[in-house]
Symmetry: C2
Subunit: 464 residues, 2 copies
């Protein structure tokens, strides 16, 4: 059964071959035991319906429950199973995986399932569903090892062996008192290397970190990452452990959290995936686009004020897009940095001032540099290609450069202060800041640019 | 020592109180044993230098090495220690933490350290440093349990207890053959509940998933997440385990990967944090801003072609920013969705076609809706406030609406095809797509809008 030379994993194909090999059920089961459940899960889509049903029969509901929890879109496979097999599998699943699975199931199937699922499974599912999606409680795994604090080392080891059969997450053993309140945790490693005569108490970390069930995920995620534990206990208001948060749950939460922010920066109301229908995608994108359209109309009406400038000196319109785009780019950079900083840390007033000041400095320096570049390059361009005198060419490019400089300073400040403000008033800055910043920056850039052109070029220099 | 009622964790302050309590060293050590190393790490900044040095003396280098690995900016504390204590601590650290720590240390201190660090520690550090930052090998932890495949269950358990003292990651036990090549893994849980008479072979998963040291992190991260294991082995070309990737390493990698993509979407060359100097921030932001400036100049010269249109019909400039911004917004949405999809899945040609087609549909439907809205609202606005006749007002707003419609379809396609193209030619689409898409969309929008205005309003309808 051992492979002398390892090839790159092509496990999925090997698994399919084993299932189709015509070996006895026992032999297939033994062979599949060598593979990771995720690889078996990935092989399901290469099998046909009757092969899959055969596999369900061979492996049994406990094993299948592990495999199904690795399937990304289990809908199709679930339908094949029939409601009784499905109930058997859900009964064996970790409660959080069961909740995920049930989300995709039709309401009428769910009603039928409710009458056949085990009572304790239903209770776990109800518990997880009782939390909002943004609360720690919605992420918990109810599958963990828990012992009383008055055991001896030998008894604790015995308890561990008893419970390990049912539970995957054994690296940390949670300890409760007589009234089932959380009182600490034991690192499995310490229990394994402990000598039998020692007191269990000496192994218990009594001030072990924990989470509250109603904590907001977004507010706790940095803390959770900092502890870098395989799992952390989640307590309710009575200090009882309702479940644990595993490193895998944290990976999912980090992924979701960042994915959502990424989506929001691009003006999507939520993350999309490949399979989504056009209609669903539009629902996530249109809200912003419509808001942006009307804000854009607002900007348009301000540009309208400067129609006269353009009528007199049409060349200024050439550089409108340049000034607006650059202001927008700088503003977006400040926004992205501010949102990431807000996500990662609890900022003191001093930090906020520091951040704002730094962004202003970055805007000032970038604006100065880019303004100079624009002055030089556009001046030469206007002189050579637009038929203006050298003096007038550099007056016009100077106007562009100066507007760039001013607009970029203001945009970096706007891109920092608006998310800080939304954060202060407890509105998600990633959602709210985008359209407002685009509009404010556009307005600032338009007024600065056309205003400068009007005053400097037309009123003062009369270059037309 | 037990607390009857748990308060919200204020552990850091409790730890400071214990250190300042004046208790004997042994008592302090025993009390601190109840706390998480991360909490002790966080307490360091509340202590003064002499208290910190006292703590180093009480806890010893092994414990301190654990604590230091939780400190985010260990520079200051390291300097206090002196080179010999620092070397002792690094000798006890996990190799990956030691590498992180050494990154921040002055070159001349590093040279001195090299002569006093243990040879095997130096070898581990050299190994990790030998990998590029984007390779799996750069993330490994060298701290794992490894046993030979020819042991009995009892011998394996004995080995585990021997090695567990030195190693934190014990949930999975890796198995190698006589020539030290990886041949499988044992779930600690299975070993704990196994009966002594069983063959060890029956516990080993021989087809256990693994990673290659030179694999690119960005290409493997989805696979790693899918396996949802506490750790995965990393093999070199000789199939020897050079280290493992723990769930904590994966959390960091996911965080970095998404953070980088988030930064790139905003035109930053890398993620920034709060402490960064203005100079460092500018280094990350300027490359893009300068590229965007010159691309913006390109757009300006194209706008210049339409100077005549504006000179004849100045009202069209009012809506230039509207059309350009909306095209940009739609393009950014398509870009964000495409990059996330590319990150999450290995796309077949069919998937790519599907995605492109869907984005085109979204662009078409959004464009149609927003174009209609612009037609109606802007028509009324122009009629009421700009003094045009009703017919001419709706001709102008129709021109804006039609340009919006066309520009949005093209922008969604551009926002999808450009990242797909960069992905195909193995250039990171998140970096390369941004400026190119902005520019292409601006050009498309400008040409569509002014082109339509010219042909429709001036050449055909002669509305001036």
């Amino acid at each position: 059964m051992k492979k002398e030379v390892l090839k790159e994993p092509i496990y999925v194909e090997e698994i399919v071959d084993i299932i189709r090999s015509g070996l006895s059920n026992e032999e297939i089961k033994e062979k599949l035991n060598d593979y990771h459940d995720n690889d078996i899960a990935q092989s399901l889509e290469l099998l046909n319906k009757s092969e899959r049903l055969h596999l369900y029969n061979i492996l049994g509901s406990e094993w299948m429950s592990e495999i199904i929890s690795y399937v990304e879109d289990p809908d199709d496979y679930i339908k094949e199973l029939g409601i009784y097999k499905l109930a058997e599998i859900i009964n064996e699943m970790d409660a959080d995986d069961a909740v995920d699975l049930l989300e995709d199931i039709d309401e009428n199937v769910k009603v039928k399932l409710r009458s056949i699922l085990d009572e304790d499974v239903q209770a776990d599912i109800r518990l997880i569903n009782s939390y909002d999606d943004d609360e720690i409680g919605s992420l918990i795994t109810t599958n963990f090892i828990c012992i009383k604090d008055n055991l001896t080392i030998r008894q604790a080891m015995h308890e561990l062996i008893q419970q390990a059969g049912e539970n995957d997450n054994i690296a940390t053993i949670y300890v409760v008192d007589e009234e089932d309140r959380f009182c600490g945790a034991i690192d499995l490693k310490d229990l394994i290397i402990a000598r039998a005569g020692m007191a269990l108490e000496s192994l218990i970390s009594y001030s072990y970190p924990y989470l509250r069930d109603h904590e907001k995920i977004s507010e706790s995620i940095e803390k959770i990452k900092d502890y870098a534990e395989d799992s952390l206990p989640v307590l309710n208001s009575e200090n009882k452990i309702i479940g644990i948060l595993t490193a895998q749950d944290v990976i999912e939460a980090v992924d979701d959290e960042l994915g959502e922010d990424y989506a929001k920066l691009a003006g999507l109301s939520a993350e999309e995936d490949l399979q989504e229908s056009t209609k669903d995608s539009m629902k996530k994108r249109l809200p912003w686009l419509i808001i942006l359209l009307f804000l854009g109309m607002l900007v348009s009406s301000v540009v309208g004020v400067f129609e006269d400038v353009v009528a007199i000196l049409p060349i200024v319109i050439c550089f409108q897009s340049l000034v607006l785009d650059m202001a927008g780019n700088v503003g977006t950079q400040s926004l992205a940095v501010t949102i990431r900083v807000l996500m990662d840390e609890n900022l003191s007033a001093k930090d906020k001032l520091h951040l704002t000041f730094k962004e202003a400095k970055v805007g000032f320096s970038s604006g100065l540099l880019l303004g100079m570049l624009a002055l030089v390059f556009l001046g030469v361009y206007i002189y050579l290609f637009k038929g203006y005198s050298l003096g007038h060419a550099f007056l016009i490019s100077g106007c562009v450069g100066a507007s760039l400089f001013l607009a970029m300073i203001i945009s970096s400040l706007v891109g920092t202060l608006i998310p800080l403000f939304f954060n202060k008033i407890k509105i998600d800055p990633a959602v709210a800041s985008g359209p407002l910043i685009t509009t404010v920056n556009d307005l600032v850039a338009v007024v600065t640019y056309y205003g400068l052109a009007w005053i400097l070029l037309i009123e003062i220099m009369h270059i037309v």
